[in-house]
Amino acid sequence: MAAGAHTGRVDMAGALRSAGFTGVVAFGLFLPLIAFKTDVDGSNQLVLTTRWPLFLALVAVCSASRFFYALLVGPWLARRALRPARPRPAWRNTIANWLVPCGIGFLVLYPAIVFFTAGFSGGQKWIDNLGVQILIYVMLGWGLNIVVGLAGLLDLGYVAFYAVGAYSYALLAKTFGLSFWLLLPLAGILSSFWGVLLGFPVLRLRGDYLAIVTLAFGEIIRLILINWVALTNGYAGIISIPRPTFFGIPFTAGDDGFAAVFGLPFSPLYRITFLYYLILALALITCFVTVRLRRLPIGRAWEALREDEIACRSLGINTTNTKLTAFALGAMFAGFAGSFFAAREAFISPESFTFIESATILSIVVLGGMGSQIGVVIAAIVMIGGTELLRELDFLKDVFGPTFDPTQYRMLLFGFALVAIMIWRPRGLIATREPSVFLKERKTISAEMVKEGRG
């Protein structure tokens, strides 16, 4: 970083130097990636094409943005860091107090708002594609938050438990015809069983090693799902999984269907709305339980474990069991979400449980601020809602041509978001910690104090 960034002064020479350096790095990086391109021509031969203007433009952009960062943004950040922290203004406390009840109220009214504004036709898009999708990830984020945010165990294979939940529901419902309401808790229990099974040998590992083993576990589960064709039907997946019923009444067009029983005209929207409230309830239960657990000895032990495992052991805390409960509980919520997912889609295949899902859930937790419930919600809205909204940006086709598909740029935007967070809020959007108990006054704990855990 340029010297000016530390002192808050404008340092032209330093900025130029770092811009030059960035330019060299970008040159080296983009030369093979962008400047040269191979295409297969009509006679099936490879031809080398060059894209010098694009290449040079990208190098220039990188260099110039680094120049401005070093010249202006860096010193500004440094000055801001030097300023004494101001106490939180009163209006922000007011907002914080009203945020949760208002948020829940909004979520409960959301389907009604959609019907009034977008009509029945918009319901599918706004409730199912956006609302339900985001809520699934909020729930998964909250579940993973127990493991990563509270207990400080880096789990890169969380999607495995999601898959166990989904396949448990799909297989048991199809084979034995058991109802959704019975299988939902059962899927959670099976997932947490797998969590314990994985946790037992693995939790003696720490930090990076734990992360790698959990990553491998996620892949193993996926490979089992692909290769155990007799049970899981491999790549083809499981189709026509029974959908959840309204306490026994199916959402079908038949005579005993939901619409007929309640004397309403048939519409798929009832099912969608029902699913929305179902996942909302599941997510709120996850949140409620997590918030509750944080104030119980087990939750404090998780956080203490994240802060200092050796000290925990010296206080008589069985760290293996404490880690296992975190793992099992996180897995259980993933199992609930998984069975919901299977029931909602009515079709599952190993495609849905790839590493990128684990990475998405983990980025939601990390972006939101590890351990923060609200942070997870914001991050899920931004990451999942954002990518869903990319589909809406049709006007970009006018700009970039008809072949331009904004959803292809999802990963690029993820990357940008992560880099931006790393620069501005390295501990996530909401990095402060609220103490679980207090004598006189609840003082928010700043991020510098709180440890991230070493597994």
Binding site: R292, E303, A311, S314, L315, I445
Partner: protein, 301 residues
Amino acid sequence: MAADDTVLRVEHLTMRFGGLVAINDLSFEVERGTITALIGPNGAGKTTVFNCITGFYKPTEGRIALHRGDATVWHALDALTDSGKRGIVRPDGALFLLERMPDHLVAQQARVARTFQNIRLFPGMTVLENLLVAQHNALMVASGYTLLGVLGFPSYAAAERAALDKARGWLDRFGLLARADDPAGDLPYGAQRRLEVVRAMCTEPVLLCLDEPAAGLNPRESAELNDLLLGIRDDHSLSILLIEHDMSVVMGISDSVVVLDYGVKIADGTPETVRNDQKVIAAYLGVADEDVAKVEAAVGL
């Protein structure tokens, strides 16, 4: 057989790390309600002794027995050793072989608490939360292993109130009450050292092992800590095992002293006898025995 009110008995303790013998055939005893200081030059093996007692290291050889309750429980020691069990709990007392127990059970069942040479608090949690974590096992039972707690049973609320009262009492005694809601990492160094002692006390130990509690304290803080330690020794008939480099602290508050050098016990006894022991002086001043008198004269001892 051990004296009637012995709490801890370390016998022939040896700890090797590969070729390095960190502790060599060490034996000593700690009496109930006394402060025993463990002293020795840097690298003598003091912290290693603590790690063996508290179950963090498994000793290469030796027996570490901890006792509470009636003195007659000691008679069961040899039978217990042969039985291969970790300990016995009887209505009139309990006896544990610490070298057989994992670290958390040493704290939970044998009730040995410790502090660390480099402070190990939970810096991102408040002072109060640190003390509640210390009462984890009792609260865990009260919360029905979390089940009753999640459902909001009132029995847990009562237990938590009791835990908070206990924490408040200790904080008041150690002059930390005003900082109860601050993150532990925000406290000044001396307060962190005291908090670590308070946190250990919240586990209701029968033996408290303090690894250099006065390190880095100024003379006034150090004197305050001495008074506090003497106070808890007397009020709770607590036994304290203390590692300390500051000789004024050692001489001021300890009832007996064990001196280690290169893992070997070179002296033990009252502070008076140890202070005048030629071997001890030689070890501390780093000179041969015959030169001690010369050096003593030079530094004005």
